[in-house]
Point group: C2
Chain length 420, copies 2
């Protein structure tokens, strides 16, 4: 359990376990490793969530059009309850979920208030039964709908304090634990903003479960909107809405969407070379591992083989999953694997699915050197030791880098000694 007090960091400290002896240390990729305990089962607990949101120790991460509030490029900044009260009210969880659904009014904008979890290492006085720690929430302060002015006012107050909403998707400068907090906040805020309507019936939906579920209410206090837009008026009694399948039993449409993707370091049959590819829009000499979306009814291992064949023509035998990385742009789960080419399957053919500008086999030594001197983010310069013309690779925050590091570090050998 991440953030559990008085325990070694599960990803790193317990290397004396059987699984660690056999598989080596666990790689905790950037955007994972959150210090928060999500206590997901408490999200629908009216008493808990009402107490947490009004507690003086509670930290609120603000997102403006998905950009998080920061104090500097490495650190998030947090607001407190007083700062956000004008936007979200004293307690947006005052009503039970059933009462919220019954009172649903599609003409009123309810700003998203998302419970992220408890930081159990910080004991600032918040307790609820056996659970304690500092509660963390995220709030969508994007100015819109009926709360546009209130949101704008919160944003301006934060800017007056010298804080900034950090924009830019690939600017991965946050410290690792806060990067994981931001990833959770961004992924769920985006999902809510992206899905204001029900895919099953087309009617507007309501956020419940403290930001982690959207339901299609059976009634609406707002009168019927005209289909081409325009003003709506409110009525005294809720009208019945059209029937919707998502109201019967459990529907995945009510829950956040995460898109599994595969990303793979492919080694030649003899283990001496690695397959890399590049897209046309990348800087010169910049290559990475192959990657793609996992399709419905495909195992990860099959998706790895399909994507490698479609993009490069290379045929794989055994595929082994190495580690995973959440990627909140907008909702990917990157599943990193190592695959080995079949003896007669190493010929490169780029014309099946012409996604790549180039793919090539690279000697392990060259990968090792590039991991040392040629890594950087896509928009950044390589390090000072890099020589123009040499191979460039993604930075250590990318799982592609970690997969290549694993191959160079002896993942394919019986031993686990790392060379880098």
């Amino acid at each position: 359990m991440p953030g559990q007090p008085d325990l070694p960091d599960p990803a790193h400290a317990d290397v004396d376990s059987m699984l660690s002896r056999k598989f080596g240390r666990e790689v905790a990729n950037y955007f994972s490793g959150s210090p928060l305990n999500r206590v997901s089962f408490l999200r629908a607990d009216h008493g808990f969530i009402s107490k947490a949101i009004t507690h003086p120790s509670t930290s609120f991460l603000l997102l403006n059009d998905l950009a998080p509030l920061t104090s500097d490029p490495s650190h998030l900044a947090y607001a407190n309850h007083d700062d956000v009260r004008k936007l979200i009210g004293n307690n947006p969880f005052e009503k039970t979920e059933q009462e919220m659904i019954s009172a649903y009014n599609s003409s009123i904008t309810l700003p998203l208030v998302l419970f992220l979890g408890l930081d159990e290492t910080k004991k600032d006085g918040f307790e609820h039964g056996i659970y304690s720690g500092t509660p963390f929430f995220a709030i969508d302060v994007t100015p819109k709908g009926s709360v546009e002015k209130e949101a704008q006012s919160v944003i301006e107050e934060m800017k007056k304090r010298g804080l900034a909403f950090a924009e830019g998707r690939l600017n991965m400068t946050l410290n690792a634990p806060e990067a994981a907090i931001f990833a959770q906040a961004r992924a769920l805020t985006d999902w809510n903003a992206r899905n204001p309507f029900c895919g099953g019936c087309g009617q507007p939906t309501l956020s419940i479960n403290a930001g982690t579920k959207r339901v299609c209410p059976p009634t609406d206090i707002a009168s019927l909107p005209t289909v081409q837009g325009g003003a709506t008026t409110t009525e005294a009694t809720p009208r019945q809405r059209e029937a919707c399948v998502t109201r019967k039993g459990i529907s995945n449409l009510s829950f956040p969407r995460t898109d599994p993707t595969v990303i793979m370091a492919v080694v030649s049959h003899d283990g001496k070379r690695v397959l890399l590819g590049r897209q046309k829009r990348w800087p010169p000499h910049w290559y990475s591992t192959l990657a793609g979306f996992c399709e419905p009814a495909e195992s990860v291992e099959e998706a790895v083989r399909r994507e490698v064949w479609e993009e490069s023509g290379v045929l794989l035998g055994r595929v082994v999953i190495h580690s995973t990385q959440p990627w909140p742009y907008p909702a990917n789960l990157m599943i990193g694997a190592i695959g080995q080419a079949l003896p007669d399957g190493e010929k490169i053919h780029l014309e099946h699915d012409p996604e790549l500008e180039d793919a090539k086999w690279v000697e392990i030594d060259e990968i090792e050197e590039a991991l040392r001197v040629g890594t950087s983010g896509l928009g950044e310069a390589a390090g000072s030791e890099y020589k123009e013309g040499g191979l460039r690779l993604p930075p250590a925050t990318a799982i592609a880098n970690q997969l290549l590091r694993a191959v160079v570090g002896g993942f394919l050998d019986a031993g686990e000694t790392s060379k880098i």
Copy 2:
């Protein structure tokens, strides 16, 4: 690449590779291992798909309310182009995708026609450039909308031939390669049926990319539907629809949804016991591994630790991913892992998230015995050697069974010798 001709089965034949020597044989779980090459890059190729659907060798798998057409409980049955022409027309891909979008008419029901892939081992004369094999499609014959009668007529013709639409979610009796074909057809048919409206704007959507993408067309030939339903009439010129964010760039809302889930065999710190749990609705003595949904911005390893702690109170150190299984009910990707408890983290506590009726540590020997005599589907009886009161476990078609088999078979040891 699955189904590639003249190649060993990648999952099993190439055990002499480095990855196989280090990690053992790859487990190909039930519902994976499709014999079809999806050639996903050809789905939007107008010429290819038109030629494939009208070819005399093409096989059509029919789904009625998601139940597949079968000849017996172990085998799918297929229709041919003549059988389905009355429902889908001679060639539903006659127009290009751009023409289909421009001609969009929300008052006309277009039955879902889904391209599954090519069976490259069957050479019945279909060729397109360097690609050849028997094309496979799935068709949703559920009677509905403006094609209700035509669909009913196709269904009745199939029943006259003695074929049956096999219902029942857990009836996993299909042979493995066809189970994978069915899984692909079911997952994508369900996704299309479940998402007739755009989550971004609430307007009805159109299936393109041969059943693997849904777009929100900018115009509609049908006149405005009244919001409470009722008859619609058609007009001579398409009307503009409301703006929608999914029309700008690429949106994940246009693509099929797959929900990553985690399922894990948890071993005690000394490796001698395994943690099992049971739900109240299961038969007596029936247990399985713990499982749950992966949340947004969580690595698989973190999701495994969170779910185990939430459901059982047990704290895990190292987590290693073992294999994966597509699960088309409706759209899960099950990611199977082995986790090891921390030395002081083995105490069971069921009251965090009270999903389980019971959880307990079971000696490896008892698991081994139950894998031999006590496995069955949830609704079925255990084998003849089973003694009442003994542990019961899921069948070999479930990844839970394969994970337990891996633990018993020496996954935790340096060696790879299987005991069962």
